[in-house]
Symmetry: C2
Amino acid sequence: MVASLRLPSLAYLFTSPSAALGRRSKAVFRRAHHPRPPPAAGFSAQSTAAVPPATEERGGKQKSRGEDRAVTPRSQDFNAWYLDVIEHAELADYGPVRGTMVIRPYGYAIWEAIQDYLNVKFKETGHSNMYFPQLIPYSFIEKEASHVEGFSPELALVTIGGGKELEEKLVVRPTSETIVNHMFTQWIHSHRDLPLMINQWANVTRWEMRTKPFIRTLEFLWQEGHTAHATPEEAEKEALQMIDVYTKFAYEQAAIPVIAGRKSNIERFAGADRTYTIEAMMGDRKALQAGTSHNLGQNFSRAFGTQFTDENGNRQHVWQTSWAISTRFVGGIIMTHGDDAGLMLPPRLAPVQVIVIPIYKKADEKSGVISAASSVKDALQSAGVKVKLDDSEQRTPGWKFNFWEMKGVPLRIEIGPRDVASGSVVVSRRDIPGKEGKVFGISMEPAVLEAYVKDKLDEIQSSLLQRAKLFRDRNILDVSSYDELKEAISQGKWARGPWSASDQDELRVKEETGATIRCFPFDQPEDIKTCLMTGNPASEVAIFAKSY
Amino acid sequence: MVASLRLPSLAYLFTSPSAALGRRSKAVFRRAHHPRPPPAAGFSAQSTAAVPPATEERGGKQKSRGEDRAVTPRSQDFNAWYLDVIEHAELADYGPVRGTMVIRPYGYAIWEAIQDYLNVKFKETGHSNMYFPQLIPYSFIEKEASHVEGFSPELALVTIGGGKELEEKLVVRPTSETIVNHMFTQWIHSHRDLPLMINQWANVTRWEMRTKPFIRTLEFLWQEGHTAHATPEEAEKEALQMIDVYTKFAYEQAAIPVIAGRKSNIERFAGADRTYTIEAMMGDRKALQAGTSHNLGQNFSRAFGTQFTDENGNRQHVWQTSWAISTRFVGGIIMTHGDDAGLMLPPRLAPVQVIVIPIYKKADEKSGVISAASSVKDALQSAGVKVKLDDSEQRTPGWKFNFWEMKGVPLRIEIGPRDVASGSVVVSRRDIPGKEGKVFGISMEPAVLEAYVKDKLDEIQSSLLQRAKLFRDRNILDVSSYDELKEAISQGKWARGPWSASDQDELRVKEETGATIRCFPFDQPEDIKTCLMTGNPASEVAIFAKSY
């Protein structure tokens, strides 16, 4: 399915380093907080919809037209590199309204791969998909005290419908706990109705001031699971089960060695008793909260009167969870694995796992090369590999190499006249640049090639995870005092240390260092600890880091 | 995947004819234009969001609590029957905001089956999925003259974001042509960028006054395809290709014998040059527009300046199409196939194709029966059949029979002690009530049973289509004068007759009969025709009908 992506028609934006593409040189993702460029010829749809222009899209030295549009080196400016990769790999583009994003086919295909995996896991763990309306009466949001406090600054409100001012403002859902509970209250009566375990794939809207493609946008796509249980133990088990599903997904599919743990009181979800999280280290060593699972306790069931009659005939409020992963995860994949050549995709989530590039110079070489390349493509396709043949004649092989490297395709197969003669191909790994990643003389014989390719894809999958793990572990420092913590953070690293201090102290760390508690990891050292801040006994270590 | 639906936990609403369920008796889908019932105990979340209460949900004689909640007979009150089926088969429920709908797991699973089929077809025909933001600057809607006229009365507007009044109101997308063109203008430059063929699965919002679950709701789910081409011929070919994809889907998957054709000028999409449609005849003989494909010509490309440079270096506006199918289609399935016993699902879209029901009275019969039923279920499941075993002990077999008939499951397998002894099962068809649809003594031997079940599912699929075709054809009358047309419509039928009269005449027919031109069908008689209204020559017949 994914192989039918119409990449060529959308491939136009890719510019490095072809001068012919100078006319497409506006730095799409860096223009946000600059005055908008003058409308292009025939472009009459410039939006005037705008709100305060504060964004996180720094590094935005807008390049003039015709300037070379190579990707900014990652080491030079991580943010500029990130935005360049999103543009050049054609993952997303800005929408007309500030802070909104158009997810382009290649970026959306990564999201579809994420959905395909998680959707099966959610069903295997007993959840059904359904759909709740996105318009929520404003009064609902006000029912749960910490929820309204957490979300009211971020709300988009519909006040006019069908040409008339509405009696009650409607909230465009920022999350669905309130409307879910409104419905649960109608569906749940007896303990026999429990557990009630559902999920929805949906868009949500939060009026964010500092936006960044995939990472934080006004509207984003996600799944939100919602469950109701008869006991607190069951709810806790469910919340833990789902963070575990996310953790496995991150490790096994996305090759991102997240650290799973519990949020601090200050960082937890507005309305939860406990929030579990997976925290990923990006290439600039900032943390990304990549998925969360909340034990909501009875907070929403009390606010909405969601009760059931237990086996003894007593009325009780249900115990609930909610959990979510969003398109933000795509940003996490980019910032974990990408390098100066562009995106680097883990094979299990790559829309294209293998790109086949025919190489010939003379006309009489063409048919043999193209025919061999097609056979190779067909053989791999029937073996279930997501493979694409780039046989366009407008581009040189060198241009194609760069282009598909930018797109992060894990494996490249090159086929030239000599390969055809010897019945073999050249296979290059995206994750190992240059000659070291290149193997000559792999047999074209379908069974041999398939086995080789599948083996290599597995190897790349493991290798990406291994590399990210090494990077992560090299950048987490164990600290035992506040000074050590400050030193670690100032070096751009994560600090892990024993913590039993107050919320006040946590806020002080944030103010003084910019770092927050990302989580109390599930994986804890065994020895007795002393709080790095107070010297009091501490039963756990916490991880501090700057974050997105 | 679908087999893991947690139906039991949601099955509670089903009430026929158990008195125990009286406490759940509020007629959920018929309450809309009545004063809301007093809040149930513990139900504190009553919404106050409301707008004019006009709805199409008539027939709403609200039943008092504890009254028998059997489904209204279809012949007695089609609309009441429809709403009852939606409630009892647990397809959907009302959302808190007027006109919104919660799609429950069983209803959503039907939508997922629709998505699974169409998503593959869209990709096979060269389209890529992507995602556009739902918030659109108000000024965009105003750019295409007929578009703004068609949609402005139905818009939901966001005027407040992040606590501040916005400078420009934002439209919650009612459809995406405007924002799609805004982006296409940035992506399309040369003929090499064409065709550009994309699709998105999304929610859309239209402030409808007369709502009805699935058929017309304030928010609904759909897919919208959008394409841009270099020539009008290509755009026309694409528009026709997609209505053909929809037509095949309707016939082959949904067993709905739609009539495909072209809309009249008056009925076409706001902004299209030509609209193609599939029109389905519901059980009450009203027409349902079940899917549309629009040739947009250059209307949006001119409004948004979407141009390309052709092979001769000239700038031209692109030629476009858009096409959509929505959750309305689920309503079409209900109203095409359902009967007094409830829903009747075509096997290819049924979330559960086979329900296995164990029957035993004595304790010593139980283990043998349950074990045989489980084996049957496992065997069918491994054969790829969507099968479910209902082994709950709280319900009698008779209750289960009714329940799964209400849910429209195509085949039921009954297994009792005598069946276990003889190594056989009883198989009942949902589409043939009573003894006639029941076959005894089908061998439990996996290979035999699988073959039998698959064969029967195919037979039911064909049979539903055949039955709907007969019904449709019996209810379309060929007319050659306006009097005949009026007579046909007054009998509740569709009228098919030669038409070359004016838009004015078409509006007069609507005013005088309530019927509109549903389409000029692709399938046309060969003989020469005379316009039924004017007596002038007519090159085509049109179909007139009352519609949803």
